[in-house]
């Protein structure tokens, strides 16, 4: 693991006097899995939106390698190699998973400007699309509208879409949110598989998932970094325990128990 691939310095986002993100410094090491945790309202999703250009920071700077990402638009950030998934499943209801993947893959090719051509021109991306769907276990449902997919399958499609951009940095916003145990295991395996050759930043509430995936954990509270370090250190940090107390101590404990098993 070399220097930081993604770096935020003094990041601030203010909404009408309320500082959702209040001076965050973040260094994400190249090739690592970096988890952002913290109680609800800690600023995790806001930070994600800042890193991906969906929100403009009130102050601070974001860098990808030696490239400045501050103030870039979401589509530019995506093109530069930072792909994201969404916390709330965010798909095109009428399109099939295969069509989703075709769109994600066609993005850089310029073919999507050709309004005079048949949409069969997108079939050239079908092979790769099916590979990606296969990777996330969606091949069997490749041809039904995404709106009719079961919840766990929609989350898998989210992940496949982000992967289709072949990003340097993959930002996953609660990839296991609302999933049952089986789907969680599947997702963890999948993230393990796709982290090869890239960097992953994830927001995650489930401490079990964090312990299994993350090399580095950043704990946020009230828009600030409360603690940072490997999971085992963070878990025993009294400040972190205090922050979570009354929030979800049972959840964190349960996760450990699961690991012990």
């Amino acid at each position: 693991m070399d220097g930081p691939v993604l770096r935020a310095q003094g990041l601030v986002k203010e909404f009408r006097g309320f500082r959702a993100v209040d001076g965050v410094d973040l260094d994400v090491a190249d090739g690592s899995v970096h988890a952002l945790v913290g109680p609800n309202g800690a600023g995790k999703t806001t930070l994600f939106n800042l890193l991906t250009g969906f929100l403009k920071p009130s102050a601070g700077r974001i860098q990808l390698g030696d490239r400045n990402l501050t103030g870039r638009r979401p589509e530019q950030v995506a093109r530069l190699g930072v792909a994201r998934s969404f916390q709330i499943t965010s798909l095109f209801a009428q399109l099939t998973p295969r069509e989703h993947l075709q769109l994600a893959l066609a993005g850089g090719s310029g073919i999507t400007w050709r309004f005079w051509r048949s949409d069969r021109a997108l079939d050239r991306f079908s092979v790769r699309a099916m590979e990606l769907l296969d990777q996330v276990g969606l091949a069997a449902q490749a041809h039904i509208p995404a709106g009719t997919l079961a919840y766990g399958r929609k989350r898998a499609l989210e992940l496949a879409l982000a992967l289709a951009l072949d990003p340097k940095v993959l930002l996953l916003d609660e990839p296991t949110a609302g999933m049952g145990v089986e789907d969680i295991d599947r997702t963890v395996d999948l993230v393990q598989k796709v982290r090869q050759g890239r960097t992953v930043v994830l927001v995650e509430h489930n401490m079990n998932v964090v312990s299994r995936l993350a090399d580095q954990v950043t704990v946020l509270q009230n828009g600030r970094v409360l603690a940072e370090g490997p999971y085992d250190e963070i878990r025993d940090d009294p400040r972190v325990i205090a922050a979570y107390l009354g929030e979800a101590p049972a959840d964190a404990g349960g996760g450990d128990a699961h690991v012990a098993n």
């Binding site: 991906t52 969906f54 638009r73 979401p74 589509e75 995506a78 093109r79 792909a83 994201r84 969404f86 965010s90 798909l91 095109f92 209801a93 009428q94 399109l95 069509e99 075709q102 769109l103 994600a104 066609a106 993005g107 850089g108 073919i111 999507t112 400007w113 050709r114 309004f115 005079w116 051509r117 048949s118 949409d119 021109a121 997108l122 449902q141 039904i144 009719t148 997919l149 079961a150 919840y151 766990g152 399958r153 879409l161 982000a162 289709a164 951009l165 609302g178 999933m179 049952g180 789907d183």
Partner: protein, 338 residues
């Protein structure tokens, strides 16, 4: 079911073409031409409303702007009418670049209001610039020149103008089913997601806006040549409203539905006018309300849903997809249980 679906398409296409060619035999030819023009106008608007998710309330600027542009070209340069019509379409597309640039970043009702405001500005200019446009009198004496051929009979002119309408409808169909059209649908369904996939959403919307305006202009230019004049009514906001109404009546996002809605409105307006009934708005408005309440998805959209539902009932295989989705649905319940 797949077989019947495959067969249905050419049958519908054939039916549409036969209807298009038979129209001036069935109804008063100038009205037939009006229907054809309005059908293209509605389809062009549906490209924006149904396939990009933008409700433009200012398309009279492009329809009417092209009507005047085509009329002026024909009056002053005496060129063959197709040149004038295409010139009108080009004018509308060019006019749409600044208007679209300034409005596509807005969403929902704000987009509708801003396009309406721009259309009102166009109306103001056309109304004030009397030397050029004739003001309230409209632009009169627009010729139908075509290499010395006599096209004064509306029956024959219908067949001279129809190719432009068919070409325009084909273009709309092509755009909707192109890679570009696929991106438009994704932007309609979820703009943030489209952005996260690297698509500059506003630029795609802008091109859709310009294409829609150009095709509306094709229709408007032909309309002016057909009537032999361009009137102030073509740039008035009620024209924008009527186009939206045609799309909603026929079914948003159905493409051909707009043509049916346009035919209904034009024919009804003509019928009421010939019957000496002056309050046409009262009747069309009433019918509009009834159709919107009874057929949520418009005439064509509802018919399509009914046919699909019937086909699904006949062949049980067609239902498996949704059945499979329901079987997997317990996934979701686990979620809420946690």
């Amino acid at each position: 079911m797949i077989l019947s679906k495959l067969a249905a398409r050419p049958v519908l296409l054939l039916f549409g073409l036969v209807a298009a060619f038979a129209l001036p035999w069935l109804i008063y030819p100038p009205v037939a031409m009006d229907i054809a023009c309005w059908a293209l106008f509605a389809a062009a608007l549906d490209l924006l409303l149904g396939f990009t998710g933008l409700l433009s309330f200012g398309h009279a600027a492009f329809w009417g702007g092209a009507a005047y542009a085509a009329g002026l070209i024909a009056v002053h340069w005496g060129v063959p009418f197709p040149v004038a019509v295409l010139g009108g379409a080009l004018f509308a597309a060019v006019l749409a670049v600044p208007i679209g640039y300034l409005s596509v970043r807005l969403r929902g009702i704000y987009f509708a209001m801003v396009t309406l405001a721009f259309a009102q500005m166009v109306y103001f200019v056309v109304n004030q610039w009397r030397d050029l446009t004739g003001g309230e009198n409209g632009l009169q004496g627009v010729p139908r020149e075509f290499f010395g051929m006599d096209l004064s009979d509306p029956f024959f002119f219908y067949y001279a103008g129809l190719p432009f309408v068919l070409l325009g409808l084909f273009a709309v169909w092509r755009i909707v089913r192109s890679p570009f059209g696929r991106v438009l649908v994704s932007i309609r369904d979820n703009p943030a997601r489209a952005q996260a996939l690297g698509y500059p959403v506003e630029r795609y919307k802008l091109l859709a806006f310009v294409l829609s305006a150009g095709l509306s202009g094709l229709a408007g230019g032909l309309y002016a040549i057909s009537h032999g004049f361009a009137s102030l009514h073509e740039v008035y906001w009620t024209t924008s409203g009527q186009a939206v109404m045609a799309v909603v009546l026929g079914g948003i996002g159905t493409l051909w539905g707009g043509a049916i809605g346009a035919a209904l409105i034009v024919e009804l307006n003509d019928y009421l006018a010939t019957a000496g009934f002056t309050e046409t708005g009262l009747v069309t408005g009433g019918i509009f309300v009834v159709i919107v309440l009874v057929f949520r998805r418009g005439v064509w959209g509802t018919a399509r849903d009914l046919i699909a539902a019937r086909a699904a009932r006949r062949s049980p295989a067609a239902g498996t997809d949704s059945a499979a989705a329901q079987v997997e649905a317990p996934d979701r319940q686990e979620v809420t249980a946690r």
